[in-house]
């Protein structure tokens, strides 16, 4: 063994060195923060299976939501996003990274619920600022007006020429989740879309 220290992790936008940009004095209409090293788990299973629902609720404090495009908050900052009729994206803060997967897996023993760790597979970009709506309108054909896209709603849609899940976290911000390999493209896209409003990076 030549490697004795902990392995070095790099977030999808590591190469953009966002922390350095965040230190700069900035006034932007769009504020971007990369949610680094979040915990992400895909949960699959029949949404009416009592065993699976009970297992998830036991592990996260909330059962998987069944309403299309909805999400619910669980314990410790976790959130369950319903992304297809039998598929949920479980989002947890970085502190959950080590055990979210194993907690779910053991809670789902003996049920038809299945989990897959995708924590490294996505870039999570938290967007806010007064130009948020305009930047989103440039980026997606989905109707992002509050009447149609209220807090808690999650949709899978287009973003630039790529795809994203968008979660309205609250009235003023949206979490955009793109596949990791599209992170750089999305970063370039957001820079271009936000150019006229100014772009600030939050740490």
């Amino acid at each position: 063994m030549t490697q004795l220290t902990l392995p070095r992790a790099e977030s999808p936008l590591h190469h953009a060195d966002l922390p350095a940009l965040a230190g700069q004095d900035q006034k932007g209409g769009l504020i971007l923060r990369e949610e680094r090293f979040s915990a992400l788990v895909i949960l699959r299973g029949p949404d009416d299976d009592p065993g699976m629902r009970a297992g998830v609720e036991g592990a996260l404090g909330a059962a998987p939501p069944t309403e299309p495009c909805s999400s619910v908050l669980g314990d410790d900052g976790t959130r369950l996003l319903r992304i297809t009729p039998d598929e949920w994206l479980v989002f947890g803060p970085g502190t959950q990274r080590q055990d979210l997967m194993s907690r779910l897996r053991s809670a789902l023993q003996g049920t038809p619920g299945r989990v897959v760790d995708v924590s490294s597979g996505y870039a999570c970009l938290h967007l806010s600022g007064e130009a948020l709506a305009d930047v989103l309108k440039k980026s997606t054909s989905y109707d992002v007006h509050m009447r149609n896209f209220p807090p808690g709603k999650v949709v899978g849609t287009t973003f630039g020429k790529g795809q994203a899940y968008m979660l309205r976290t609250d009235a003023d911000s949206v979490l955009v989740i793109v596949r990791r390999s599209f992170a750089d493209y999305t970063w370039l896209w957001l820079q271009a879309a936000a150019e006229e409003y100014g772009l600030s990076i939050a740490g």
């Binding site: 996505y122 007006h145 896209w189 271009a192």
Partner: protein, 1006 residues
């Protein structure tokens, strides 16, 4: 030059500031609020271009988007210059530089005018049509001359530095046009609570009210407009777009708007120059108004002949009287406004020539009271003058307007304004396929039946009285909002009244007759931009063209950048007359998007340069960049192609990389391979159905190569799938097919076998993969991991293990795409770069060499491994590839594609089969795609019997190798064939086994 036609007051221009601009090399002045057209007219400039075919001098005719003549090239910068802008819609800014696009090489003295004077014989009517139809070989030659003479402007020759973008909108009600109808509709819908967008192509809201002297419930029109504008600004859910043209109306109320954001500020404004709004509207209100229709008469294209409403607009909105002495010809009362405006501006109205026998309405009466001479029952049959109007030749008309009833006399004048009535702007309604309907009452085409959720209001319906227009707007707003689920409230402030003058009926007249027949009379222009005359239409009908669409193509009427906005209805009427049919029987041509031209920049938006298409990157990309790798596009991925060292050619680098793998150890970034997590109690059964081979006995910890076919039996994808446990597998796919394979699996699961308990999750991006391959690979990976036993016995070929590599949780697969001892290490992508650097460091003592896709291709070709999509093309079966071993035909549930393998075509003896090809000249690398022939001395065309699919120089073998598909190839071992190269040479090569290197596989079984 002074602005000799500018009135001391009146209009909406700001006389306190003077703007300088250049037109055709001369400097003029204007004011903020001017368009280039109004400023040119203020300066007394008459000649703005030359005509398409005859090179005739042309002047400004209109004041809006229908202008056919005053078409400009704006800007001189080769990167930002814009062709074909209408001077009537180009806002003036200080320093603007423009020139005529029509009128190469110069407007004042034109070479094409010589052609024109010979009578346009070089281009008789139908030139365009006839050249298209048969002498197609000559078309390119003709076109060069036509394009140049036609003056369609210059495209920018340099990359455009400006920014463009698109914006998506969802609104309840979209209102197109912000005249009185549109403003009323928008306010009503907004008050009902709807999300409203209102767009207008002008810089200010108000439509024709900006040039109106009317009062609305006692309020001057301009003030009324300001009130509505302010009220809209206070509505939180209203978006107002100025300088924004609705260019396309598509099915399901998808409307495209083009917004010009900075051109009115000049070329250095910065910011987003143009924005394309993609609007999905619940309801659309069309309030696009109407364009005045000019009358057709002899020499009606002389500079100084204009529409009556344009003259009124220049006077009232811009404070510009475009001449000294006016003759106005009209078929209706409304145009008398223009005579009164001219008179009130203090200049001479020589006469109003009214084609009607009588004119007793309020406006004619007012005109007479002002001392204006009114000649009823007369028409202007011909304009006098060359480069400018000097007079109007007037003659009495018969009651039906079909012939002359007396002799001609000339009225001296320098402007002839005409009005043949109004043509509703129905263009947008037609974009979705609605047929406009002729109305005898309106004397124009009005919107027809529609399948779209839209309402029309105001002038577009042929409703012209202002009070009625506003009420129609209110009603449209109400109907749109309620149809979309809102409750409309009464708009008391829009319950207006407008005192309208009494009006006599208008006369239906399009062409003013001449003493001579149409074909002999001085040219009577119908479509100015394409130089189509009344005579040309008659000729077209005489030659047998009956459909209006054929007449259009024969004469090119409506083909200009203005799409014939001014002339189309006259053209339809004259076609009807020539055919002895009615206008409804004749119909219109089809109006298509775009309503006015749209720039390529606006259409492209942000999607250019680095954003043209997403580029996908692996977590190790930065390392490859720093090592100076050359990259190859694989799908959207950027993969390292090879890593040239200082001064190395590609071939040298690839040779070095290949030898390093064969002799020591190499490393490859294989993160782009598609990876799909498959779980469920029926996962194994599912694999059994989608793969050709057997999966029931694959044990946890083991992996297997699989071949996937489409229903037609043709190879679709291949890859290695690993068993985690009985209900959990990890499938790998080719890089390019990751998406299609996942879709394929989902499709079969969701539509055919929903009873199977199985689910699929893409984990391509979750895992980073480092391939370590070569005789020393075991030594390298063992240095990084102490919880996996890498010995041959404990970790055999086609097995996989979970463990900790370089501190990260890893899945290590012992599989091989090179034929060497290989470990593919997968770690969560966050640790990809860390793992890559750790492997590189651990391998340095062994001379580890990073290699790219080119070396990967050579190494696999040496082993005869296929690449789906390179060695296959969707028409190749596993048997063609010699992969009979991968087919398991006795499975209880036959695999996808199995039956198709027994079709007669699949069983055909002479199918092309996969073979190795060894050129006799070992230095010659056959081009991929090279065709095979048996006997090179056969006559041309030689029958080919196959082609090369992969071809490389093999450094390990010291000679070139190739793979290919050859007719009956499996039976032709050691036969010699000839391969044609792209430069016409022939290379002789011998067919052989596809496995060139280590045929027994000894190197990977160590």
């Amino acid at each position: 030059m002074t602005q000799r036609n500018r009135l001391p007051e009146r209009g909406r221009v700001d006389r306190s500031r003077t703007l300088r601009f250049q037109f055709n090399g001369r400097t003029y002045t204007g004011h903020p609020g001017d368009t280039v057209a109004s400023a040119l007219l203020a300066n007394g400039v008459r000649l703005v271009g030359r005509s398409f075919k005859y090179g005739r001098p042309r002047g400004v005719i209109a004041a809006g988007p229908e202008e056919p003549n005053a078409i400009l090239q704006v800007g001189t910068d080769p990167a930002t210059t814009t062709p074909n802008l209408r001077a009537t819609q180009t806002e003036l800014y200080d320093g603007l530089v423009c020139s005529s696009t029509n009128g190469w090489p110069s407007t004042e003295r034109d070479l094409t005018s010589v052609v024109g004077k010979v009578g346009g014989r070089m281009m008789p009517p139908g030139f365009y049509y006839k050249t298209f139809m048969w002498p197609s070989s000559l078309w390119m030659t003709y076109e060069k001359g036509i394009r140049k003479a036609a003056g369609l402007g210059q495209s920018p020759s340099q990359p455009d530095p400006a920014e463009y973008d698109h914006m998506n909108h969802h609104v309840d009600v979209l209102v197109v046009g912000a005249g009185p109808a549109g403003l009323s509709a928008a306010r009503t819908a907004a008050r009902a609570g709807a999300r409203v967008m209102i767009a207008d192509e002008q810089p200010e809201l108000g439509g024709h009210l900006l040039a109106s002297r009317a009062t609305i419930s006692g309020t001057p029109a301009a003030k009324w407009v300001r009130r509505q504008t302010d009220a809209l600004a206070r509505e939180p859910e209203v978006t107002v777009l100025r300088r924004t043209t609705a260019v396309g109306y598509h099915d399901h109320n998808f409307v495209v708007l083009s917004e010009r954001r900075t051109d009115h500020l000049g070329p250095d404004a910065g910011g987003v120059r143009e924005r394309l709004h993609r609007v999905r509207a619940g309801q659309v209100v069309i309030a696009t108004g109407a364009h005045e229709r000019p009358l057709v008469f002899g020499n009606n294209d002389r500079p100084g002949v204009m529409t009556a409403s344009a003259v009124g607009t220049y006077i009232n909105r811009y404070g510009v009287v475009p001449g000294e002495r006016l003759v106005l010809m009209t078929t209706n009362d409304h145009a008398y406004h223009t005579a009164l405006d001219w008179h009130n501006a203090g200049r001479e109205v020589v006469a109003v020539v009214d084609t009607r026998a009588e004119a007793g309405g309020d406006l004619p009466t007012e005109a007479r009271a002002c001392g204006i001479r009114v000649l009823t029952g007369h028409g202007v049959i011909e304009a006098a003058g060359g480069r400018s109007v000097t007079g109007a030749r007037v003659a009495p008309l018969s009651a039906d307007g079909e012939s002359l009833a007396g002799t001609t006399h000339e009225l001296p004048c320098d402007v002839i304004a005409t009005s043949g009535g109004w043509s509703p702007v129905v263009h947008l309604t037609c974009h979705t396929g609605d047929k406009p309907v002729w109305s005898e009452e309106v004397l124009g085409f009005v919107p027809g039946e529609t399948r779209q959720a839209r309402v029309c209001a105001g002038g577009v319906n042929g409703t012209y009285a202002l009070e009625a227009v506003i009420h129609e707007g209110v009603d449209a707003g109400k109907r749109a909002a309620t149809a979309w689920g809102f409750e409309a409230t009464e708009m008391r402030d829009l319950a207006v009244s407008v005192a309208e003058p009494s009006q006599d009926p208008s006369m239906k007249l399009f062409l003013v007759p001449h003493h001579k027949p149409v074909t002999r009379a001085p040219k009577q222009f119908v479509d100015f931009q394409t130089d189509v005359t009344a005579a040309a239409i008659e000729v077209a009908v005489r030659e047998g063209y009956e459909s209006i669409e054929h007449v259009k193509r024969y004469t090119v009427m409506g083909f200009g950048t203005d799409q014939g906005k001014l002339g189309n209805v006259n053209g339809v009427a004259l076609t009807a007359r020539a055919r002895g049919k009615t206008i409804p029987e004749t119909g219109t041509t089809v109006f298509r998007p775009a309503y006015t031209p749209v720039t390529f920049g606006a259409l492209a938006g942000m999607e250019r340069g680095g954003l043209l298409d997403p580029a996908r990157f692996t977590p190790m990309h930065l390392w490859h960049v720093r090592q100076g790798a050359a990259f190859e596009d694989v799908g959207q991925w950027k993969r390292p192609w090879y890593y040239p060292r200082h001064g190395e050619s590609m071939q040298q680098a690839v040779n070095r990389e290949c030898l390093a793998v064969r002799q020591r150890v190499g490393m490859l970034d294989a993160s782009t391979l598609g990876k799909i997590d498959i779980q469920g109690s029926d996962a194994r059964e599912f694999l059994n159905r989608v793969y050709t081979n057997a999966w029931m006995k694959l044990q946890p910890g083991r992996c297997r190569y699989g071949l996937m076919l489409k229903e037609d039996g043709m190879v679709f994808d291949d890859g290695v799938t690993a068993c985690v446990d009985d209900e959990h597998f990890i499938m790998t796919t080719t890089t390019g097919n990751a998406g299609p394979v996942l879709e394929w699996l989902e499709r079969w699961h969701q539509t055919e076998w929903p009873e199977l308990d199985v689910c699929f999750t893409s984990i391509t991006d979750q895992w980073a993969t480092v391939t370590v391959t070569g005789p020393e690979s075991r030594n390298v990976v063992a240095k990084l991991c102490d919880d996996i036993d890498f010995s041959r016995e404990a970790f055999p070929f086609m097995a996989w293990r979970e463990g900790t590599v370089a501190g990260a949780l890893a899945r290590v697969f012992r599989i091989s795409f090179t034929g060497e001892l290989t470990y593919e290490i997968n770690v969560p992508a966050d640790y990809g770069m860390h793992l890559w650097e750790a492997v590189y460091a651990a391998g340095e003592p062994y001379g580890i060499t990073p290699y790219g896709t080119e070396t990967m291709h050579v190494l696999r070709a040496e082993k005869g491994f296929i690449i789906v999509g390179q060695d296959t093309d969707g028409s190749v079966t596993p048997e063609d590839l010699g992969m009979h071993w991968a087919l398991k035909r006795e499975k209880p549930f036959s695999f996808l594609g199995q039956r198709s393998l027994d079709r007669s075509d699949s069983r055909r003896r002479d199918r092309e089969q996969f073979v190795g090809i060894r050129p006799l000249n070992g230095e010659a690398v056959l081009p991929e795609g090279a065709q095979a022939v048996e006997n090179p001395s056969n006559p041309v065309p030689k029958r080919t019997i196959g082609h090369v699919t992969s071809s490389y120089y093999s450094a390990a073998l010291g000679h070139s190798i190739a793979l290919g598909l050859i007719e009956r190839g499996h039976d032709r071992q050691r036969e010699r064939l000839h391969f044609m190269t792209s430069d016409g040479r022939l290379e002789e090569a011998e067919l052989c086994s596809t496995v060139f290197y280590d045929p027994d596989g000894a190197r990977q079984n160590v």
